[in-house]
């Protein structure tokens, strides 16, 4: 009922391969973009600062990771470490007087270089072993960050971000930080959607599906995998810097721990591997669902509806989070993207059950 496909036609293959071929989708995207861009005007600072802003940034992070995990099929359980590299690089660069815009770029590059070294492991192993290798790298980076005061910032291990401006906009208010993060997330989204349609994107998919078969059809697995790690790490590094400057406004090692890596993988999986919309939905779900459910339960508890101890209540987000991951894997392994797709299809073929002829 929302979708009208009549009169949607294409006179070239370029047009036929447009991202949003269906006008309704296009309008939906435009409406969402406008809504997102105007969020600071109608969303209270509480919701903007503690829900919308992190959601946007984590969506960018999930997109970065899903490029690697979803498209290229390279498992990565140490992505928070990559983001940490970006965050620490950017903050030290800015402190050293590098303009913020350049610092973002450089921090991405630094993350890409180190992230590609991580990727070296991927050239030899896959699956479980890649999980273990990246996990070990996460611990290594954590250790280096914590134990090198020059990186972590001395005794308190907290580095506050200096005041910066992006282009001509001073990044001082919540709204400006949100807009910068949104801009980055949108840029990543656009990039991701387009990369799927390039030869690089198809090479990634070929590698994911069967790497030696990909080699047979002329895709160099060595280069493609490294490029995948580099690209993904670049995106993750900049996202880490954005996270530091736009959300935390300080960098501490705890922000990029092992659990954060797991959380990212959860976002990617719950959202649906390799899916753009899934990255946004997954990030939002993993981030917000436990919070909202906990607030709900604590509201019920405060109202005397459910007698639960503070200890139980406090552990509830963990339980919900774990149960959510399990639930999704068992019930909808293709994640929220699949659920969204089902809903979209439901309306797309309305009032029928399937698309006809």
């Amino acid at each position: 009922m929302f979708y009208r496909l009549s009169g949607t036609y294409h006179t070239s293959y370029q047009a036929d391969r447009k991202l949003w071929k269906i006008p309704t989708d296009r309008w939906l995207v435009i409406a969402l973009l406008v809504l997102a861009a105007l969020a600071p005007l109608y969303v209270s600072p509480l919701y903007l600062g503690s829900y919308v802003l992190p959601w946007v940034i984590w969506s960018a992070a999930a997109l970065s990771l899903t490029l690697l995990m979803g498209l290229a099929g390279q498992l990565h359980f140490g992505f928070a470490a990559v983001m940490a590299i970006g965050a620490y690089a950017s903050i030290h660069l800015v402190r050293a007087g590098v303009p913020f815009e350049l610092a973002l770029l450089l921090s991405g590059l630094i993350a890409a270089v180190i992230g590609t070294v991580f990727g070296g492991a991927a050239l030899r192993v896959k699956g479980l072993y890649l999980v273990m290798a990246t996990l070990a790298m996460q611990y290594l980076v954590d250790w280096v960050v914590v134990n090198v005061p020059a990186i972590s910032g001395g005794a308190h291990a907290t580095l506050r971000t200096p005041d910066v401006g992006f282009l001509f906009l001073p990044i001082d208010s919540l709204a400006s930080r949100y807009w910068l993060a949104l801009g980055w997330a949108v840029a990543l989204t656009v990039f991701f959607m387009n990369v799927k349609r390039t030869s690089f994107g198809r090479a990634l998919v070929a590698i994911r599906d069967k790497d030696f078969a990909a080699a047979v059809i002329g895709v160099d697995p060595f280069r493609t995998k490294l490029t995948a790690f580099a690209t993904s790490s670049f995106m993750g590094g900049v996202t880490g810097a954005i996270l530091a400057f736009c959300f935390y406004r300080a960098v501490t090692p705890e922000q990029f721990g092992f659990n954060v890596s797991i959380q990212l993988v959860a976002m990617v999986l719950v959202g649906g591997l390799g899916s753009v919309i899934g990255s946004w939905l997954g990030a939002g779900f993993v981030l917000l669902a436990p919070i909202f459910l906990t607030n709900l339960v604590s509201g019920l508890a405060a109202g005397g509806w459910v007698p639960v101890s503070q200890n139980f209540l406090s552990h509830l987000p963990l339980m919900i989070y774990g149960a959510m991951i399990i639930g999704f894997l068992l019930l909808e392994p293709l994640g929220l993207a699949k659920i969204y797709d089902n809903i979209r299809k439901y309306f797309l073929v309305w009032p029928f059950r399937h698309a006809r002829s």
Partner: protein, 292 residues
Amino acid sequence: MAYFLELLISGALTGLMYSLVALGFVLIYKSAGVPNLAQGALVMTAGYAVWMVMAWGLNVWIAIPVAAAIMFGFGLIVERLLLRRMVGQPVIMVVMLTLGLEILLRGLVPGILGSTPKPIDLGIDFAPIIIGDVFINRTSLYGGIAALALVGASLLFFRTRLGTKLRAVSDDHVSSWAVGISVERAIGISWGLAGIAAVVAGALWGSSQGADWTLSMLLFPAVAVVILGGVDSVPGVVVGGILVGVLGTVIPGYLDSFAGGSTRDVVTSLIILLTIMVRPFGIFGREDIERI
């Protein structure tokens, strides 16, 4: 020299205590091909279980078997409800499922039973065994002995009729089905056995630090052990454990004073990385890992 020897011995014993955690991992991987990243949480749950049973007023020697029975059942349930439905899914799904289980348990168990460390008194004497200038920690010693005993028992078990079935299952699911072995039951049992191994690990580790969620962090060194020893090798658990323990104790023992920080995590990480780079299937693992 005595310092080195002491580090060597305490490292080996500590490593064997890691082996207790790693054993559960290997048992499950060997039969089901499932990398159980929830083994740390299983150990934590087992620690809580031992504490809980002891809190009923039972003697420790009764409490441990009771907890073992509980954890055996728990392992069966986990396998039946969760893992069995993941058969045929890509490894990332299985890994993430076990991580989800780990997170769930880490919320559920302390959430219900309380998050302050729970004392487990195994009645082990504090006084070290002193040989020359070498002090040997009794808890570690008993832990090491327990680990060796459990690994030995596992090896013997694999020689029994049921164990043979398990081995067959670990070799080839389809063929095992074909000859009438219940693969599901075999995998279920291996989960149960992993639960029992977790009880021993949980009790010993819990006795020195108290049972709380941090027990689940034993997963990381245990992963190093299994990677080094080979994910599907029971003897590998012993060798891997001793190596990880010794390297993780001896190297920091000399290095920490220079590096200015604990280097054990680094050593553990490097063990994992180097093993995967050089010999992904580990020391005793089967060389059937897919590589380019």
